[in-house]
Amino acid sequence: MRMRLVPEITNWDFFGRSKLWLGISALMMVVAFVSFLLQGLNYGIDFRGGTTIRTESPSAVDVGAYRDALQPLELGDITISEVFDPSFGDDRNVAMIRVQAQDDQEAVSADLIAQIEAALSEVAPDITFASVESVGPKVSGELIQTAVIAVLLAIGAVLIYIWLRFEWQFAVGAVLALVHDVLLTIGVFSELQIKFDLAIIAALLTIVGYSLNDTVVVFDRVRENLIKYKKRDLKEVLNISINETLSRTIMTSLTTMLALVAMFVLGGDVIRGFVFAMMWGILVGTYSSIFVASAILLWLGVKRDWTKPDATAGNQYADIDA
């Protein structure tokens, strides 16, 4: 007996309320964007420069004492937060201390770190420094730039690929879905103020890749069915295609989610934000390939008359799966 996540044959109508779904998605994007503008992201030192120190001690973390110890050093903005993880025992207390980039100081001062460590050792003699990371303001500015370029490049490359492989309406649908996913992910990070660092950019790009993977599988079926059911209208063809690929969509999203949940729970606190971004991305990506990408395709319409020469006829991919 097989486990079936969705019935063997489904005939659900995904586009009965397509305007409503598009509206909700648009609203969510606006909310995410406004949150990003108003609240901003909780940038890690990769993007705004500064120093983070991860401390570990057998005795409990006293955030107030740490703060008092660092006060005389006049370092400007200091954030001290305790890190909790189910895998830590009672004798393992972890805190993250973040110190802002010191003004007009390109290079990172070793003295400063030594001073901080000395000050903390005074209030908590058994403290150890599990990691110390400093990024100068010069590099962090460049890192932001590179990150934005990387995301834009990825989206651009994908736009071109789908355009070549399908038609421009598909490319627009897929890319809008991607923008939707990226925006919503940024929105969640801004809303929950989760630390946004370089690894999150990697996660964002993976989401781009994954969401696309999903969209492309649906589109591939749409292309096939457009030829198969020449007489049916586009809405019907889209519905058939999504229903046919639904079982696969759910299976793949679930296996990936399963793997990520394991990583989220057991992978340790260092990587949790990164895994969270990917889990959220898979959720949003699966949703968007149906309710955004396909809905936009429906809205834009597709050229159906295949007897006339069209844009895809001449290029190298035209008959790859004939």
């Binding site: 990691s131 590179t146 990825a154 490359a157 990697a202 046919e244 296996t255 057991l266």
Partner: protein
């Protein structure tokens, strides 16, 4: 029908076997690692019975390539340094002054007396007392220019000489500056590498990044500060003529001279000629030793060119003091007692034994041509790395088992085929990673976990398609064939787009992010291979043996 040529079968199994073979050392990580260390030690320092014994711990006919663990997993220090390439321009121009002086001296009748003017770091200004002779003076100075040695700057000379009133302005040409930058960064890279090698740590990464940056990652070192001590000092050694000795840094030095503090004696300053007689670049060896009073010192030897210059200078200046300068501090300023012809000497100062040993190492490795500015530094403790490895291992195993169970529940026998392929996929991935010597980082582990989740996608696409084809009742063999055929375009499209993003990540990212891009990209390649070829081969073999009338997927 369902046929796969024999040669294809052999090729597929061959690739799988090769992947597993290459991945094998990773299953015995510590053992292979100590074996590799022992082998390197034997190569470098000769064989000892202990080293031979350790080396024999892993058979030499087996591959010994391992997946490197990134800093976030192993602990260590990471530095991003920017080479201050402008430093070199000033040095070049300083060294040019004696040459210009000697070239203009015979032309005194037309240009008059020549004088070095205070000049910025990017230029050399020389005043001539007869501005009418400017044309001739410029011609003579331009004659000193050399063709630029570089590919892009071919046909250009290294100096840009112009006249400004009664002053000659000498600058480095644009082409020369580029060529100099290139040389400076390469030289710095090489010297940093030598210094780190002298200390002897395992698998350091020393890479150039962008035009003037160097990334240094050393696993296993205590802290970034420690690493900076090894590579942070320029160790620029020069021997300069002493003009005078004073007690203040604010005395205005004569033109072409500079005031430098003494290293040991507080409040003592020397006025020195800026252009050195000999520099550390001309050293061939430096060793820690002791002076005649038994105090730690460093003995050195010059190459023939340096020895000649040193010999000539000492012969001409007996009785004059002479300064040994390290990184703009005067170590000592002995008086030249006699002509020193052999090109070897000894540096004395208030050294401890450790300091003299360190100085010898730095001098031997050579001076950094320019200063370094550190833009980024990270220290990751070994315990944190170990924690991450442990957590990553558990997470991977759990993720893996969950997916295996899930696939079996959903697709039965076909699920088992997919599961075998998934296990082989991981082996292939590790084989590939070991083969190219890739570095595994914490996000890289997440990449593997993600690959595990997504690797089944290709199989799921095929299996779902087979199910669909079975519904239209074409018979099992035809359904399997059609399933593979029709799912192919979706598999190719879906994975190609992910490859595109992985490539962009690899190109734009650095460190951990790059590690993630590598595992993601390679994971896609291996998973498509195992899904399209390995699973299919297993299904074909099974189908050929049993010839079932109906199949359930």
């Amino acid at each position: 029908m369902l046929q796969i040529d024999l040669w294809k079968r052999i090729l597929i199994w061959g690739i799988v076997a090769l992947g597993v073979f290459l991945a094998l050392p990773n299953a015995f990580y510590t053992r292979v690692e100590t074996h590799n260390d022992a082998v390197t030690a034997i190569e470098r320092q000769g064989a000892t019975p202990e080293r031979e014994a350790v080396a024999a711990g892993w058979p030499s006919f087996l591959p010994s390539g391992l997946v490197n663990l990134g800093l976030d997993l192993r602990g260590g220090a990471h530095l991003l340094a920017e080479v201050q390439v402008e430093d070199v321009y000033a040095q070049r121009l300083e060294a040019l002054w004696p040459e210009v002086r000697d070239a203009l001296r015979p032309e005194r009748d037309t240009v008059g007396t020549i004088r070095l003017q205070p000049s910025g770091p990017m230029e050399l200004r020389i005043r001539i007392s007869q501005p009418d002779g400017m044309a001739r003076a410029l011609e003579v100075v331009r004659g000193l220019a050399q063709p630029v040695v570089s590919l892009t700057g071919a046909g250009e000379t290294d100096l840009a000489v112009s006249g400004d009133g009664d002053e000659i302005v000498v600058r480095l040409s644009e082409a020369e500056r580029q060529a100099t930058d290139e040389r400076t960064v390469r030289q710095s890279l090489e010297i940093i590498r030598r210094r780190i090698d002298e200390v002897g740590t395992r698998e350091p990464t020393i890479q150039r990044q962008g035009s003037d940056r160097i990334l240094i990652q050393v696993p296993g070192i205590g802290s970034a500060a420690e690493l900076k001590e090894i590579i942070g000092t320029t160790a620029q050694l020069t021997f300069q003529p002493v003009v005078g000795r004073g007690a203040s840094a604010n005395d205005s030095p004569g033109i072409g001279n500079e005031i430098l503090p003494s290293l040991d004696e507080e409040g003592v300053f020397y006025e020195l000629e800026q252009a050195p007689v000999v520099t550390g670049e001309e050293l061939v060896d430096a060793q820690p030793s002791y002076d005649q009073n038994g105090r730690p010192a460093v003995s050195f030897r010059f190459n023939p060119a340096g020895a000649r210059k040193f010999g000539d200078y000492t012969a001409e200046n007996i009785g004059n003091p002479f300064a040994i300068v390290l990184d703009d501090e005067v170590i000592s300023a002995p008086v030249i007692q006699s002509h020193i012809p052999g090109g070897s000497g000894i540096i004395t100062g208030n050294f401890s034994v450790e300091e003299s040993t360190n100085l010898a190492v730095l001098l031997r490795a050579g001076a950094l041509p320019a200063g370094l500015e550190f833009l980024e530094e990270r220290t990751i403790g070994p315990e944190l790395g170990q924690d991450s490895i442990d957590a990553g291992k558990i997470a991977t195993v759990v993720a893996f088992s969950a997916v295996l169970v899930f696939m079996f529940l959903s697709y039965g026998l076909f699920g088992i085929f997919a599961n075998i392929a998934l296990i082989l996929n991981i082996a292939l991935l590790f084989g590939l990673l070991s083969l190219i010597g890739a570095t595994l980082t914490l996000p890289g582990i997440a990449g593997i976990v993600l690959t595990v989740g997504m690797a089944v996608d290709a199989n799921v696409l095929v299996f779902e398609r087979i199910r669909e084809e079975l519904r239209t009742a074409k018979g099992p063999a035809r359904a399997i064939e059609l399933g593979y055929e029709k799912a192919l375009s979706a598999i190719v499209d879906a994975n190609l787009t992910t490859i595109i993003t992985a490539t962009i990540l690899f190109a734009m990212g650095s460190g951990p992010v790059r590690g993630f891009a590598i595992t993601l990209g390679l994971g896609i390649i291996t998973s498509v291979f195992t899904a399209i070829f390995v699973t299919r081969l297993m299904i074909v073999i099974w189908f050929g043996r049993t010839r079932p009338k109906t199949i359930e997927v």
